[in-house]
C-alpha cells in the first residue's frame, strides 16, 4: 500500500491533478472485475477487502468510474432483476483485459524501480 501512496505522490507531477486518482481507480476496478462480473457494491467491498481496508473512498465515487469505463468499452454493464430490484452488473471486455495486462506490466516495472531506489529488497520479495 506504501507503493500506491508513492504512486499518487509521484504522479502529481506527470499527470494533471484531475487524472491522478481516476487513473489508478480505473485499473483497480478492472482488476476486481477480472475474476468475474460484479455489481457496484460488490466491487467496492472487494476493493476494501483486498486492500485490507486501506483503500477507503466514498462508495458512491465508484459509479462514475464504472460508467466511465463502460463508455470506453473496457467493461460492459447489464441489468438483472434481483428480488424485485434492478441490479446492474459489470464484466470485463476483451479490450479491458488487454488494458489491464498492459498497465499491470507498467505497475510492476514502476514499483520495482521505486524499491530499488529506496534500497530495499527487489519487489515482490519472498523473504
Amino acid at each position: 500500500m506504501t507503493a500506491l501512496k508513492f504512486a499518487f505522490l509521484l504522479d502529481r507531477g506527470r499527470l494533471g491533478e484531475a487524472e491522478r486518482v481516476p487513473r489508478h481507480l480505473d485499473m483497480l476496478i478492472l482488476s476486481i472485475l477480472e475474476t468475474g462480473p460484479r455489481h457496484g457494491y460488490a466491487v467496492i467491498e472487494e476493493l476494501r477487502r483486498r486492500s485490507d481496508e486501506a483503500l477507503d473512498l466514498p462508495e458512491g465515487t465508484i459509479y462514475p468510474a464504472l460508467h466511465r469505463l463502460e463508455r470506453s468499452k473496457l467493461i460492459e454493464g447489464k441489468w438483472f432483476d434481483i428480488g424485485g430490484r434492478r441490479r446492474r452488473t459489470y464484466a470485463l471486455t476483451t479490450d479491458g483485459r488487454r488494458a489491464l495486462r498492459e498497465h499491470r506490466k507498467e505497475w510492476v516495472s514502476f514499483a520495482s524501480m521505486i524499491q530499488r531506489v529506496l534500497g530495499g529488497k527487489p519487489w515482490p520479495s519472498t523473504n
Binding site: 507531477g13 506527470r14 499527470l15 494533471g16 491533478e17 484531475a18 487524472e19 481516476p22 487513473r23 480505473d26 485499473m27 455489481h39 457496484g40 457494491y41 466514498p58 462508495e59 458512491g60 465515487t61 459509479y63 462514475p64 468510474a65 460508467h67 466511465r68 469505463l69 463508455r71 470506453s72 473496457l74 434481483i82 430490484r85 434492478r86 441490479r87 446492474r88 476483451t94 479490450d95 488487454r98 488494458a99 498492459e102 498497465h103 507498467e106
Partner: protein, 260 residues
C-alpha cells in the same frame, strides 16, 4: 420512522442534483440497489435499521459530492490512453507547425515546388487537427462548447478563407492557428494535463501579436522578435514531452483469429 425513509430522502436529493446527467434515472436505480444492499449487510452485522441507513449513507458520500464527480466525469473518458488516442494527441500538437509551414510556403511561393509543399503541409495540418479532435473526444469525452466551435471552424476554414483569393492560404492559416487558442482553452478547463504548459500554449499567439505590435511602435531591433515565441515554444515542448511520455495500453489484434 418508515423503513428506508433516509435512503428515499437521499435519492430524492441525488436526483435533484443530477438533473444535468443524461442517464440520471438509471444511476439512481443503481444507487438505490447499492444502499439497500449496504443496509441489509449492516443489519445482518447487528446494527439497527436506522443506524444501518445512517452508516450506509455516510459511507456512500453526500449527494453533492457524487453528482459533482458524475458531472466532471462526463467530460472525461477512462484515464487509459490507447496508442491511437496518443497518436491523435501528438498529431494535434504537430498541426500548428504544419499549418505555419504551409502558410509560409504558400505566401512566399505562388507556384512551383514551394507552393505544392506549402499546400501539402496545410492539408496535412488540417487532417492532423481533425485527428486530434477525434482523439480528444475518444479519450476525454469531448471538449465542451469551445471544442465544438473549434471543430466546426476547422471544418469550415477552407470556405471561410476562400473569399480572400491569393491571401486565402494565409487567412486559412490564421483561422486554424486561432483555433489553437480555443482548443487550449478547452483543454485548460478539462484539466487533462498540468495547466501551466496549456496556458503558455494558449497565450502564445497573443504574445507574438502583442510583441510585434509593440516592437513596431518602439522601432525595436528585429533581433528581439524571436523572444515573442518563447511562451508558445516552452508550452509546446513541455506539453509534447508530457504527451510523448504518457504510457498507452496497446490494443493488440485478437490472438489466433484469421483476418478477412
Amino acid at each position: 420512522m418508515a423503513e428506508h425513509e433516509l435512503i428515499e430522502a437521499y435519492l430524492r436529493e441525488l436526483r435533484y442534483s443530477m438533473t444535468r446527467v443524461a442517464d440520471a434515472g438509471e444511476v439512481i436505480e443503481e444507487v438505490a440497489d447499492h444502499l439497500n444492499e449496504a443496509v441489509a449487510h449492516l443489519v445482518q452485522a447487528g446494527h439497527s435499521h436506522a443506524e444501518a441507513e445512517q452508516e450506509a449513507l455516510a459511507r456512500f458520500g453526500s449527494a453533492a459530492l457524487i453528482s459533482k464527480v458524475f458531472t466532471e466525469d462526463r467530460r472525461r473518458r477512462a484515464a487509459v490512453p490507447t496508442s491511437m488516442t496518443r497518436r491523435a494527441g501528438l498529431a494535434a500538437l504537430c498541426s500548428p507547425v504544419l499549418l505555419a509551414i504551409g502558410t509560409f510556403g504558400i505566401q512566399n511561393w505562388h507556384f512551383g515546388l514551394g507552393y505544392a509543399a506549402g499546400t501539402g503541409a496545410m492539408g496535412l495540418g488540417v487532417l492532423a487537427t481533425l485527428f486530434g479532435f477525434w482523439g480528444f473526444r475518444r479519450r476525454h469525452g469531448g471538449m465542451g462548447a469551445m471544442g465544438r466551435v473549434a471543430f466546426w471552424i476547422t471544418l469550415a476554414s477552407p470556405l471561410l478563407a476562400a473569399p480572400f483569393g491569393w491571401a486565402a492560404p494565409a487567412a486559412l492559416g490564421i483561422v486554424l492557428l486561432l483555433n489553437v487558442v480555443l482548443v487550449t482553452r478547452a483543454m485548460y478547463r478539462a484539466a487533462i494535463f498540468p495547466r501551466v504548459p496549456i496556458a503558455l500554449l494558449g497565450i502564445g499567439p497573443f504574445a507574438i501579436i502583442a510583441t510585434v505590435m509593440v516592437m513596431e511602435k518602439l522601432n525595436a531591433p528585429s533581433t528581439w522578435w524571436p523572444l515573442s515565441f518563447a511562451p508558445l515554444v516552452v508550452g509546446y515542448v513541455w506539453l509534447g514531452l508530457l504527451m510523448w511520455r504518457e504510457v498507452s495500453a496497446e490494443i493488440e489484434p485478437p490472438d489466433g483469429l484469421a483476418t478477412a
